[in-house]
């Protein structure tokens, strides 16, 4: 078994999904237990992987490599490094909490709901483990189907529109990536990511490949101006769908940049870094302002997600610039680039916890009041003190308060971008104001003040299960915020590896 740990990790949720559908179709309670135990087992396995990972070695570990489609020279190649493992742990952790959160809130076709999440989990884990570009792509695309179903069946009133938009938008983006992959397959005859990272693509090839990847991943992250599917999808998705979407599916886009754009087309990444940085800054500032004027809580958090994901892409491409600058400078130090990349990674993980938690908060409120509108709330602190405390803490994390995970990533990225250009840092720094503004204003209107709406006065505080979900996310955010060292050192070797790949001039 130890030979095939990653395969187990990926296939376990699929088996669980089958079991949930087959054995849980008559009894929702049985379906819940099967699904939850599968998710717990997968989470346990990912913890086992974390403990057994030798973070002092940058090399890929838990390697599995078998021929898959021989005629096309495709291989079933799985491996994980620190970056993958951090995201794997995020995925399995979030899935457990999502399933717990769905315990009582979903009552229609429960077994299908839970099975969709398990399938989704397995595909997301597949994305983070795949070392063959086409295998990556297959998981990347297959993810869309369960999410399509989740939003479409269990979503809000405009769910059909939202889910079709979500599917077609992402499908459209990834077609260009597919063409890029096919081009590379024709050109190199091998789609192994390590091989592609070493393959000397010409300047022109890199340019177009980079753009193809950019479209796919920019839609997924999402970056301005291809972000418009996200607010719709978030607003209509059921709570669990929103949580997974924000916590993990967006990270797949960031992860894609890290595995494709930076290593395979480093020169084009350098050449076009200005474009990505500009789009990221627009996301950070402009989308932050857009979030300010929303009166739907889910929309507000969705826009805040886009804005925060802007930091992820910003950090990555600032790192690109800094690596290339270090190569011509006298010192040759890549410390700044490392800081930017680490910040970007920490931001991914942190945003996973925080946005997931905030969407769960909205879910908790929606279940009680059946409204997502800010104006229908107010004074929750009076009736739901526990909930209010958690929500306030999570909002602080969202606005980047020191001591929470939100601060660490943003601070590292801003610090590093100073070395690149103070203007970048200054614009990115605006988020501390804008982010705090929309989050705190949200908190003020929802949590504090007097109870004006009669339904609010009758609300029950969170129950143990909801407390577990929100508390779990809050605790994770706090741990990363206070003590980011283990997370950073877990990814350290892999981050250095990416920096190394970036410094490789191919043209």
């Amino acid at each position: 078994m130890s030979q095939h740990l990653l395969s187990w990790l990926i296939w376990l949720p699929i088996l669980g999904a089958v079991a949930t559908v087959v054995m849980g179709s008559t009894s929702p309670q049985r379906a819940r237990w099967i699904a939850l135990s599968t998710a717990l087992l997968t989470f346990g396995l990912s913890v086992f992987l974390l403990l057994n990972y030798a973070s002092d070695q940058p090399a890929l570990q838990f390697d599995e490599n078998a021929p898959w489609i021989v005629a096309l020279n495709l291989r079933y190649h799985l491996a994980a490094d620190g970056i993958s493992l951090a995201l794997i742990a995020l995925t399995t952790f979030t899935t457990v909490l999502v399933l717990v959160g769905a315990w009582a809130s979903v009552s229609d076709r429960v077994h299908q709901y839970l099975a969709s999440f398990l399938l989704l989990e397995s595909f997301m884990l597949g994305v983070f483990c795949a070392r063959d570009a086409l295998l990556f792509y297959m998981f990347f695309e297959a993810m869309l189907v369960p999410m399509f179903i989740i939003i479409g069946i269990w979503g809000g009133p405009r769910r059909v529109y939202a889910t079709l938009k979500f599917f077609l938008y992402t499908f459209f983006g990834s077609i260009f990536m597919l063409v890029g992959l096919i081009y590379m397959a024709v050109e190199t005859g091998n789609l192994d990511l390590t091989y592609l990272a070493n393959y000397p693509f010409t300047e022109r090839e890199q340019f177009w490949l980079f753009l193809a990847f950019l479209i796919a991943f920019a839609v997924k992250v999402p970056m301005f101006p291809v972000h418009t599917w996200l607010p719709d999808a978030h607003v209509e998705a059921p709570t669990g769908g929103s949580v997974i979407l924000a916590a993990i599916m967006l990270k797949v886009g960031g992860y894609g940049f890290l595995r494709f754009s930076l290593p395979i087309t480093p020169d084009a990444a350098h050449e076009l870094a200005w474009l990505v940085i500009a789009l990221s800054l627009i996301a950070v500032v402009y989308i932050g302002l857009v979030a300010l004027v929303q009166d739907d809580m889910k929309k507000l958090i969705a826009y805040s997600s886009i804005s925060h994901m802007g930091f992820v892409t910003l950090g990555m491409f600032v790192a690109v610039l800094l690596v290339r600058e270090s190569m011509i400078s006298a010192t040759g130090s890549v410390d700044g680039a490392r800081l930017a990349l680490q910040g970007s990674m920490v931001q991914m993980i942190s945003h996973g916890f925080v946005s997931a938690a905030l969407f769960s908060c909205v879910g908790v409120m929606y279940e009680r009041v059946h409204s997502r509108m800010i104006k229908d709330y107010g004074g929750l602190a009076n009736t739901m003190p526990w909930f209010a405390a958690l929500m306030v803490f999570l909002s602080m994390a969202n606005s980047g308060l020191p001591g929470t995970s939100g601060f660490v990533g943003e601070f590292m990225v801003i610090l590093a971008s100073f070395q690149s250009h103070p203007l970048i840092a200054a614009s990115a720094g605006l988020t501390l104001i804008i982010g705090a503004a929309y989050t705190l204003w949200l908190v003020k209107r929802v949590i504090f003040g007097a109870v004006v709406n009669p339904p609010i006065a009758k609300l029950q505080d969170v129950n143990a299960r909801e407390l577990l979900v929100l508390g779990g996310f809050a605790l994770a955010s706090l741990v990363v915020g206070l003590w980011p060292a283990p997370l950073v050192s877990l990814m350290d070797g892999s981050v250095n590896e990416v920096l190394q790949q970036l410094s490789r001039v191919k043209i």
Binding site: V21, S25, P67, W68, I69, V70, A71, L72, L74, R109, Q112, L134, Y137, M138, F139, F140, E141, A142, L144, V145, F148, I149, G152, I153, R159, V160, T163, L164, F167, L168, F171, F172, I175, F176, L178, V179, I182, Y183, A185, V186
Partner: protein
């Protein structure tokens, strides 16, 4: 001409067996009472299965490889793989058709003999080594199909579809024959090998070849249903009884691949510049018309008809590549399309019952609540058509696009991108079916559990068929390798 010898006859054993069995079935069926009609059904399925075994044996016996009847009949890897899958999908079509035909009082021996002769025509077609064999096989395929479309003779729409099919099909055959005659006039040969060889000996009539190639391509496009020669397809798909639509929509696509492969690669390869340019236009039009018009359809059979047109566009991309890789990709595409289409129409028949013809997309409304298993099956079929990974439709698109991009200096990159964009547009109408099944409540009139046909063979084989799409999508490597080997050896 050499005198007839056993070396000529042995490679034809599968076809001979099929022909003899069909004649016996034709006679025997007269003495089978209607209540025992299932005997004919199972006998025909058994005959197809045994023919498949014979094909397999003929392939395994290397002494039979090569050609027979002075090159009129080819027995090579491509013929074998095409025949096996033609027999497989035809058997599927028969198994799926039974409950449907019984419910509509169409359960008659004619269906089986006509289908059988069409299969014989297809087997001959994919083995053709000569213009005349190809034409013979094509007509043997087409004539039973015309009759099959009109099987439900009291249905006005069926009769109309049959007439349309017949007139346009005859026109297409005429075009093909005209093209063949031009090529014969220019090269003085009907044998594929000799036609190829004639290109070397500096023909005095290059323009004759040009006209010949043009008409041959038009004939092929008609048979495939590639735009702008697709007009018959939606009407025939809609008008024919679904059991017949299933048959027309599956196995003949593999046969059409065989026809195109034999003619374009086998005979007209020296003039590939001509047909390549024509195919580019056909592909563009097929992708555009097929995908865009499919969006507007509310009738499921018509939608699948337009989707077929767009799939033909993808399939022909493999031919445009003009490489062994491209032909192998097109072969894989044809096979995976035929298997997927079988499952799709099979599911449509599952929904139909006595007095209710499931044809509209709206008939799938709320299927997930009525029968989650078959809703899942339909979702997999639609996802495969749309080219979602993990299903065979994705691998098929991937190999075809890869082959097309492999053309010198990636000069067809633009076409690959266009095809990719149309794959996204195409995904929309497949998703709409999933949407109707999963996101909408069942219609008032049909909200109970789905009444399923009693035929267990039908249900099990259908589910197996759909799961095979998933299996091939994940473990499709050996089949792709087989296609590559077949083309390389042929």
């Amino acid at each position: 001409m050499n005198p007839l010898s056993m070396a000529d006859l042995l490679p034809l054993v599968p076809e001979g067996f099929l022909l003899a069995s069909l004649c016996i079935l034709l006679l025997a069926d007269l003495f089978i009472p209607q209540s025992e009609r299932s005997t004919t059904h199972w006998l025909t399925v058994a005959v197809l299965a045994f023919t498949a075994i014979l094909v397999w044996r003929a392939d395994a016996d290397t002494s039979l490889a090569g050609s027979a009847f002075s090159g009129m009949f080819l027995n090579d890897g491509v013929a074998t793989i095409c025949k096996l899958f033609i027999l497989l999908t035809s058997a599927l079509a028969l198994i799926y058709a039974r409950p449907y035909l019984i419910a509509r009082k169409l359960f008659q021996g004619e269906f089986y003999t006509l289908t059988g002769f069409a299969v014989l025509g297809m087997l001959l077609l994919v083995s053709a080594g000569n213009m005349l064999t190809a034409y013979l096989g094509l007509e043997l395929l087409a004539l039973p199909l015309y009759a099959l479309v009109a099987l439900d003779r009291d249905n006005g729409r069926s009769a109309e579809a049959a007439i349309k099919y017949f007139v346009l099909g005859a026109l297409a055959s005429g075009m093909l024959l005209y093209g063949i005659s031009m090529i014969y006039g220019a090269s003085g040969a009907l044998d594929f090998g000799s036609i190829r060889a004639a290109a070397v000996s500096n023909s005095p009539h290059p323009w004759l070849y040009g006209i010949g190639v043009a008409f041959v391509v038009i004939g092929i496009a008609f048979k495939f249903g590639a735009a702008p020669f697709h007009m018959w397809l939606p009407d025939v798909y809609q008008g024919a009884p679904t059991a017949v639509t299933l048959f027309i929509g599956s196995a003949p696509k593999i046969a059409a691949f065989g026809l195109a492969y034999r003619l374009l690669d086998g005979a007209l390869d020296p003039w590939f510049r001509y047909w390549q340019a024509m195919l580019v236009v056909l592909v563009l039009l097929s992708l555009t018309i097929g995908n865009l018009v499919a969006i507007a359809q509310t009738n499921f059979k018509r939608m699948l008809a337009y989707s077929t047109i767009s799939h033909v566009g993808f399939l022909l991309l493999g031919f445009i590549a003009h490489s062994a890789e491209g032909y192998a990709a097109a072969l894989f595409y044809a096979i995976s399309y035929a298997v997927t289409a079988s499952a799709g129409f099979g599911l449509l028949m599952l929904l139909s019952r006595v007095g209710f013809e499931a044809e509209e997309i709206a008939d799938f409304r709320g299927l997930n609540q009525r029968n989650p298993w078959y809703a899942l099956m339909m979702m997999l079929v639609m996802a495969s058509f749309a080219g979602v990974p993990l299903l065979v439709g994705f691998l098929a698109k991937f190999v075809v696009l890869k082959a097309a991009l492999g053309v010198a200096n990636a000069e067809l990159l633009w076409l690959v991108i266009v095809a990719g964009v149309f794959a996204v547009i195409g995904a929309f109408y497949y998703l709409r079916v999933i949407k109707v099944m999963y996101f909408e409540a069942p219609a008032e009139a049909a909200s109970g559990p789905l009444p399923l046909p009693q035929d267990l063979a039908f249900r099990w084989v259908l589910s197996g068929n759909v799961l095979a799409l998933l299996g091939l999508g994940i473990f499709g490597g050996p089949l792709i390798s087989w296609c590559v080997r077949a083309i390389a050896g042929g």
